[in-house]
Amino acid sequence: MIGAIVIGLAAGILAGLLGVGGGVLFVPALVLFVGLDQHHAEATSLLAIVPVAIVGTYRQDRYGNVRRADALTLGLLSVAGAAGGVALANALSGAFLRDAFAGLMVVIAAQLVHRTLRERQPPVQARAPGDGSRPGGPAG
């Protein structure tokens, strides 16, 4: 139980620090440290992502960065895909799914390296135009 809390906190810090999604951290952590199988880990990760995304959205929306209509359209039109993806995951063996996920982790690692080496200056906090009154101030 303590293990899960520590994983959540650590994964959240890394997600906020590096801008990677929570899921790519939650799934392997749930498999390697909590001992869930791949299917349970993926399903549990999905639910754990929801509060993280809600808080992230709230903060970004305050900076005016969220295009609400598009976000809502995207979200609502994803239902079929999400249902299909889950059905596909459940039709596949845990071993296959695990290997595919490992491949995904390598791709995300490569993306991260690419992005990091491309960046010349340290990242700056997201800020809406004209919101210069609180440079670097906490959003929450």
């Binding site: 890394l14 999905l46 929801v50």
Partner: protein, 126 residues
């Protein structure tokens, strides 16, 4: 009028394609789908990276929520583990974004990429 209507329809179609792909990806892998949504919003709808990331996060609330509900119907969701990980993760993200303003993240990112690859190997071989 007609041109505007046509443009709206095309835009909605693109959003539907992106949403469907992201949903498939999310449901298949148990992730949010941001790594699919962000680049497609940038390349296909002309978003800048910041708006793409923020809009993607908002869409992920729906996408991960739907996918979690379907996984729940399969009986795969461990509610307690999800809460034990998800709630502290919210605090973690707040700490992480705070740290991001104050740290050089370059070496951390490279180190973390190495950890991701090592974990991928660990997943496969164990």
């Amino acid at each position: 009028m007609q041109v505007a209507a046509e443009r709206t329809r095309q835009r909605t179609f693109k959003l539907m394609v992106i949403g469907t792909l992201a949903g498939l990806f999310s449901g298949l892998f148990g992730v949010g789908g941001g790594s699919v949504i962000v680049p497609l919003l940038v390349l296909w709808l002309g978003y800048d990276e910041r708006a793409a990331t923020a809009t993607s996060l908002a869409a992920i609330v729906c996408i991960a929520g739907f996918a979690a509900a379907v996984q729940g119907a399969y009986g795969n969701v461990r509610l307690l583990d999800a809460a034990l990980i998800g709630v502290p993760a919210v605090g973690g993200v707040l700490i992480g974004t705070w740290l991001q303003q104050r740290l050089q993240t370059r070496s951390i990112a490279l180190l973390f990429a190495a950890v991701l690859v090592a974990s991928a190997i660990e997943l496969v071989v164990r």
